[in-house]
């Protein structure tokens, strides 16, 4: 893998570009996140194809998630997922205590405070799950979504693409409670 800083800079620029190129309309925020997520999806598919070229076949879903947490995360972010939790019913929570793409963002309250409405709405947790259900947030709240969620969209797509290529359909959402720790929640869809 190339030097981390290169990817981080590129990732930041991609986010800036996507937002700049969609100035019009108030609902654009959600569409931008979707675009980022879809980018991550395609990249995830290709990455998984490369990384699983030489590995043994996966026995079951848990095996697949462990692979994502260890090998996949190590290849992309040079570290493993710190904590994997599951309820054995198709929901997995991947916790990364020092998410590489967020470490460069300030850990202070400055940017998080831009979105008091969102915080209250979701009971103190900033989630992007609401983005997939447009009715839940008003246009004003869309805009006040903090920057950190934009930075997670690509990675959500990455995980979703990787899983999809391994034959696991899922919905991936992300949550930030304390910077730079974040949680990715994977909900497996039974077909």
């Amino acid at each position: 893998m190339a030097d981390e800083a290169l990817f981080q800079f590129l990732h930041n620029e991609v986010i800036q570009y996507i937002y700049k190129s969609s100035e019009h309309g108030e609902m654009e925020n959600g569409r931008c996140i979707t675009k980022l997520e879809n980018m991550g999806f395609r990249v995830g598919q290709g990455l998984i194809e490369r990384f699983t070229k030489d590995t043994a076949r996966f026995k079951d879903e848990l095996d697949v998630m462990k692979f994502i947490c260890k090998d996949f995360w190590t290849c992309v972010f040079k570290k493993q997922i710190d904590n994997l939790r599951t309820n054995h019913q198709g929901i997995y929570v991947l916790q990364d205590n020092k998410f590489r793409l967020l470490t460069q963002l300030s850990a202070g309250k400055q940017y998080l405070e831009h979105a008091p409405k969102v915080r209250k709405h979701n009971g103190g947790k900033l989630t992007c799950q609401a983005l997939f259900i447009p009715g839940q947030l008003s246009p004003h709240e869309w805009f006040s979504l903090p920057l950190s969620l934009q930075y997670l969209a690509f990675t959500c797509g990455l995980v979703r693409g990787g899983l999809s290529n391994l034959g696991v359909k899922s919905i991936v959402t992300a949550e930030v409670s304390v910077m730079p720790a974040c949680k990715f929640q994977v909900m497996i869809q039974k077909m």
Binding site: R42, Q45, E49, R50, T52, K53, A56, R57, K59, G167
Partner: protein, 189 residues
Amino acid sequence: MLTRLKTQVPLFSMNSYTKLREKLKLSGLSFASTHSHVIRLGRHSRHNSKMAVCIAVIAKENYPLFIRSVPIQNELKFHYTVHTSLDVVEEKISAVGKAMADQRELYLGLLYPTEDYKVYGYVTNSKVKFVIVVDSSNTSLRDNEIRSMFRKLHNSFTDVMCNPFYNPGDTIQSKAFDSIVSAMMVQAS
């Protein structure tokens, strides 16, 4: 048989070479004299003995992403062969879960006793299947040669997958992939 042939046909002229090919039905046997003579004649620059008659790449939804066979007239027969081999592939995948989990080679032996083809299969972690059909009379093809063919296919397929112009699920149009496959197929006479 090989040494007999060598003494019978000491000088590999163009005519004798085609006669030899007709006899053996496949140009891919690996004995050193053929290689050197082939190179001298300048007809074929490929020297490998790994020659398949049909190669197919099948997506996880079981439709073909890529299928190529050498005798163009019999293409339908190969399509059918590959299709029936999918059932055996599914069977083996579900069985492997109990046994050691590894990329397994699928050796089917004779599917049709009359046609005497050997069909080999390979499944990636992304549930994409590769199927190689080989003529049974090509007995010098060993297990690890087939494995290396699959390895090359897999590497090439990974490159196709990472190509940003390729949408997963489309048929494979890549020329690079095409050339890798052609290198593995029997040369059409």
